[in-house]
Amino acid sequence: MTPDLMEQGARRLHALNAPAAAGATESGGRQAGFSRIAKAGEVDTTHGRILYLEEVSVSFDGFKAINNLSLDIAPGELRCIIGPNGAGKTTMMDIITGKTRPNSGTVFFGSTIDLLRYNEFEIAQMGIGRKFQKPTVFEQLSVFENLELALKTSKAVKSAMFFKLDSAQQDRLAQVLHTIHLASSTRLMAGNLSHGQKQWLEIGMLLMQDPKLLLLDEPVAGMTDEETVRTAELFISLKKHHSLIVVEHDMSFIERISEKVTVLHEGAVLAEGTLAQVQNNEKVIEVYLGR
């Protein structure tokens, strides 16, 4: 739990224990259901969770890629997900981002948004950003244009035709260019970047989207050690204002960034805890090393 959540909990407890004022209801004057009005499209994290997956299952041709998976993520959390190949890590991301529909189960963004009712671009607009396993950038466009396209703004056809960067957006772009260390190659075609730089550009595009939740599939694959360290620093700096789910195989990277690690195996959660805890978990050792 983050300190922020602890504080929220303390406040609620305080309200619960406070003596009822004259004429107040039994609930201590807290008017259940009226305390907060749900707004359409707004992510409601008042219950301390930004993402819920409950009993999600999906199978492809009889193969159960995800098997009764339940998982939730807190706002501002950085969750690492590990697991052997075929454990369902990428499929899980596909489900959250609307690419794959589960056979059963529920997926909620905040307490009110049922993600299964939306498609990919709507989910992206709501504030879930995704980085693919293989870096995916627009190769024929410049670094600058790549970031500009990802910018959080109206994505309608008409507004794209008449779009002009305002100065706040320019500042944001410049800031992200610095963050991803590509400020000197703004005009370069993205296709000419190195593998690691493409990874960074894609992360930069996510930052331009300013998502509430970032899903990162093997973000440091193909990066040099130095780049990996910088990526770790970046993610740690991001987690204050965003929630992150990181799927990675690189254990040293996970050690650097992780607070809580979830181990997936055969489409379900095998273990959860700090990296040290899961590394000492017998079931995990068994899965990774074989019997």
């Binding site: 981002t97 990919e120 671009f121 992206a124 607009q125 950003g129 995704r130 693919f132 995916t136 950038v137 627009f138 190769e139 024929q140 466009l141 410049s142 600058f144 244009e145 500009e148 396209l149 990802a150 959080k152 994505k155 309608a156 056809v157 794209a160 035709m161 008449f162 779009f163 002009k164 960067l165 320019q170 500042d171 772009l173 410049a174 800031q175 260019l177 610095h178 400020a183 703004t186 005009r187 894609e202 595009m205 989207q209």
Partner: protein, 382 residues
């Protein structure tokens, strides 16, 4: 925290040289061509023959189609092999009006177009009711291809039909339409189509000044569409199209709805083709279902590829180059034209992926690099 950074300024619509070339083209179309055709006497070497006017006018219509192909294929990566259909629909909409303009001067001296008399019709079919009105038929020039593209595109793009499957379906679409228009019952003159036009807006269509007006109009439309396309591809909308071509999933996960973007450019492209068809018919004097044959649509793709995809100017150059070659070749070696066309397409695909324009750009770059190199060398010598 971030230091001021020199972000690239938005590119102007065209460079100074581009505007210069545009102005020259405008002068040629609007002043030079009419002057050389109508004022300069036929005996002079500078006279522009009526044949040349109609040929260039025709090729300019093709160039509009090539431009439309470039938007959908070059920039968005969707290869349509059915654009001939939109071209023909625009042509038919114009042709219907021209048929009604014949009035009582047809072979049968009837108020109905000749083919209807021939088919023993007593009154106009329902879909001909608005055909006497120029404004209505001009609206149909835009609406017919536009609506068809909208409906077809909506279902195709929503079902995420891509790549070669999309190309094959568009090809089938134009083929099916051709078969439909071949039938007399469809009410568009069957395999003869429309011809023998007499007037447009009550002005005799064959007189030189009318032909010249049509020529100038076609040229202006081409230039106008060129500017419009440039504006489109240089806007963020255009960059989203290129992004769809390169990595559609990333576009989607960036919050864009690719269906809306593809549908928009698809309809724009179809309407451009329709307008080209409407300009083509009065200049050529005939429209028949042959315009919908699959080969016509494939040729459009060839013009675009030969000129250079995703360059806008390339497809225009390609339309002129291929059709110029065609008009010479079909006279000199009429039997071998299709072989030549095929060979040209293969050669361009294999050796010139960027087309003529790409080749020219590469040569220019090398030349200027060479020049700089030799200048530097000269300095060293001195």
């Amino acid at each position: 925290m971030s230091a001021p950074l020199n972000l690239p300024a938005p590119a102007p619509l065209m460079s100074r040289r581009g505007w210069g070339a545009f102005l020259v083209a405008l002068i040629i179309v609007c002043m030079l061509a009419p002057l050389l055709n109508l004022v300069v006497p036929e005996s002079s070497v500078f006279h522009l023959s009526d044949f040349a006017v109609s040929l260039i006018g025709k090729i300019m219509c093709y160039a509009i189609c090539a431009l439309a192909m470039d938007l959908i294929w070059g920039y968005t990566g969707i290869l349509s092999l059915g654009h001939g259909l939109f071209f023909a629909l625009g042509g038919y909409a114009m042709g219907m009006y021209l048929m009604r303009q014949i009035g009582l001067d047809g072979n049968y001296k009837s108020g109905l177009p000749d083919f209807m008399v021939f088919l023993d019709l007593k009154e106009l079919p329902w879909h001909w009711l608005g055909s006497a009105s120029f404004a209505f038929q001009m609206a149909m020039v835009v609406m017919a291809p536009g609506l068809l593209a909208l409906v077809f595109g909506f279902f195709a793009f929503r079902s995420r039909i891509k790549g070669v499957y999309f190309s094959i379906i568009t090809q089938a679409l134009t083929f099916a339409a051709m078969l439909l228009f071949f039938r007399n019952e469809t009410g568009f003159g069957g395999n003869n189509g429309f011809t023998d036009f007499k007037r447009i807006l009550d002005i005799p269509i064959a007189q030189p000044s009318t032909r010249m007006v049509l020529f100038v109009l076609t040229g202006l439309t081409l230039l106008g569409f060129y500017l419009f396309s440039r504006w489109l591809v240089q806007s963020k909308f255009g960059r989203v199209l290129q992004a769809i071509r390169d990595a559609e999933s990333r576009v989607m996960f960036s919050g864009y709805n690719p269906v809306a973007y593809k549908l928009t450019i698809w309809v724009i492209s179809a309407v451009m083709c329709g307008i080209a068809g409407a300009l083509y018919v009065p200049q050529v004097g005939i429209i028949n279902p042959g315009e919908m044959s699959p080969a016509n649509s494939i040729e459009m793709a060839i013009w675009t590829a030969v000129g250079g995809r995703a360059t806008l100017i390339g497809p225009i150059v390609g339309a002129f180059a291929v059709n110029g070659a065609k008009s010479w070749f079909t006279v000199a070696f009429p039997e071998y034209w299709l072989y030549f066309l095929g060979a040209m397409f293969i050669a361009v695909t294999l050796f010139l992926p960027q087309g003529i324009v790409g080749l020219t750009r590469t040569i220019m770059r090398k030349l200027s690099a060479h020049k700089q190199g030799s200048q530097n060398g000269a300095k060293h010598d001195a």
